[in-house]
């Protein structure tokens, strides 16, 4: 019978974190930005498999890393929110609760399981000026180990998030119209990818949470719309 080698907890966590980081860095990054009418989410994604999705009336999801893992998280998020909104009221469904649930679940897997989730997600919630106390936009970032942070103005996820943040620190202005926000998002992803050539419109996945829409604020921009805006 073989005796398992002793591995210190520090080493174990470090190894897991490195493993997760590597997995996440393999994919492309995503950025969410506040614009004058809400929040825009921009991802470089040439495939038909979505990285950004609708969760609830005012809440959107974006995930990077391993598709099967973050898409599972997206679906679980939809179930979590739909059940909550059905049992209570639609206004009771908040981004903070969802982001916390993600943080718990992802953190749990990180400490308990051998293989951590190779994912990082954004939960974006657009404010509704008609609901007192719910007026502000907020974006939450949940990392592979379950650590959670809240962001205003912009929020990035993925392997190149530092470059995205440093680019946006210099270029972001509040109250941008949709077209400018989309261009800024694309340029931030571009800067992070160190690309000399601009990311083509066809390779972008763009979704918005538009405060002015009635009911469900989430909207996926078609390829034609993205092309028209960027032209």
């Amino acid at each position: 019978m073989s005796i398992p080698f002793y591995v210190s907890p520090e080493q174990l966590m470090q190894d897991k974190a490195e493993y997760a980081r590597k997995g996440i860095a393999r994919g492309k990054s995503i950025v969410a930005l506040e614009y004058d009418k809400g929040i825009i989410l921009v991802a470089e994604n040439p495939s038909q498999l979505s990285k950004i999705g609708e969760i609830y009336d005012r809440i959107a999801f974006a995930g990077v890393g391993k598709f099967s893992e973050f898409d599972q998280l997206r679906k679980v998020g939809v179930r979590f929110c739909d059940v909550k909104g059905y049992a209570y009221s639609r206004e009771d469904v908040r981004g903070k609760a969802l982001a916390n649930a993600y943080s718990q679940a992802i953190g749990d897997v990180f400490t308990r399981e051998l293989k951590p989730l190779e994912v990082e997600v954004i939960v974006a919630e657009v404010g509704d000026p008609r609901l007192v106390g719910h007026e502000d936009n907020v974006m939450y970032r949940v990392q592979f180990d379950g650590s959670i942070s809240d962001h205003r103005s912009w929020c990035g996820i993925g392997g190149t998030v530092e470059s995205i943040e440093s680019y946006l620190k210099n270029h972001y202005r509040s109250g941008l119209p949709l077209g400018d926000a989309l261009r800024l998002g694309r340029d931030a992803l571009n800067a992070a990818a160190n690309g000399a050539t601009r990311i083509a419109a066809e390779r972008l996945e763009v979704c918005t949470l538009d405060r002015d829409r009635a009911g469900r604020k989430f909207r996926r921009a078609s390829a034609d719309e993205v092309r028209a805006i960027l032209a």
Partner: protein
């Protein structure tokens, strides 16, 4: 909830059945032998096709026996961007079913990334009505109309249901509830395949007025309280709920004026 849930499909109703049965109320055992207690009932709803889609309308009255239970109950609900449900029967289960269908369609769309086909939505409702059959046998009947715009076939479509979940597609119009027969008779006289949207709206209001004229449980327009029928249309562009002012205008300027001359709504 998070990773512990057993269900992994795309249906909200099934999700509740598997993981949240406490949110799926069933009829208490005790009722099985007796008739259900008196509950408010919603009365007349109708749907008709016109050249570009469908119009769905319903009056606002809920009755409990011979009494008014509510004067401004809602019987027409938008279920998603291209479909509507109109409900007649026991108000509680009716409203619950409309709400559940809305969540179900939205849930499927979000999980799958694309909406169900119109036929798929109609079929789902069929299963929900069938699941209500035990309650229907005790008198808690739900008989909806479902209508919408079929984006693949580019036409408005509508279905009626019976208590067993039987689903029947209608190519012209239909009406349900206590004033349904009168509304149908009224629509029969004016329906044409090439009705314009304005003509269809007027036909719907005329039919509801006829139903209220013949059936005491159907509410008319209440000008004093500003309560008007709920009317919505659905075309390729999506569902449009007609605002109260427009309904009021059509009603006072076209329906009432004509009926002063011919109270039966004749030419």
């Amino acid at each position: 909830m998070f990773f512990r849930s057993k269900y992994s499909g795309s249906s909200f109703v099934e999700l509740l059945d598997v993981d949240f049965p406490h949110l799926r109320p069933t009829l208490p055992e005790r009722w099985a032998q007796e008739a259900a207690p008196a509950v408010p009932h919603g009365t007349t709803v109708l749907a008709l096709r016109f050249s570009d889609g469908v119009v769905v309308a319903g009056d606002r009255l809920a009755t409990e026996g011979h009494r008014v239970a509510s004067r401004d109950v809602q019987k027409v609900y938008t279920t998603d961007a291209h479909s509507l449900i109109a409900i007649a029967g026991a108000a509680g289960p009716c409203i619950e079913m409309a709400r559940m269908l809305r969540v179900e369609l939205e849930h499927y769309e979000k999980i799958e990334g694309e909406p169900l086909e119109l036929e798929g939505k109609a079929n789902k409702l069929s299963q929900m009505v069938r699941a209500n059959l035990p309650a229907a046998m005790q008198g808690l009947v739900v008989v909806p109309l479902f209508a919408g715009y079929d984006l693949r076939r580019r036409l408005g479509r509508l279905w009626k249901y019976d208590v067993t979940g039987g689903r029947y597609e209608e190519t012209e119009f239909d009406a349900s509830g206590s004033g349904g027969l009168s509304a149908r008779e009224s629509l029969k006289k004016v329906w044409r395949a090439d009705l314009s949207r304005e003509e269809a709206l007027r036909a719907a209001l005329q039919a509801l007025t006829d139903a209220a004229d013949e059936d005491r449980a159907t509410g008319g327009v209440d000008l004093a309280r500003g309560i008007f029928p709920i009317v919505a249309s659905c075309t390729a562009e999506g569902v449009r709920e007609i605002d109260k002012e427009t309904i009021g205008q059509i009603y006072t300027q076209q329906v009432v004026v004509a009926r002063v001359r011919a109270p039966g709504g004749g030419p």
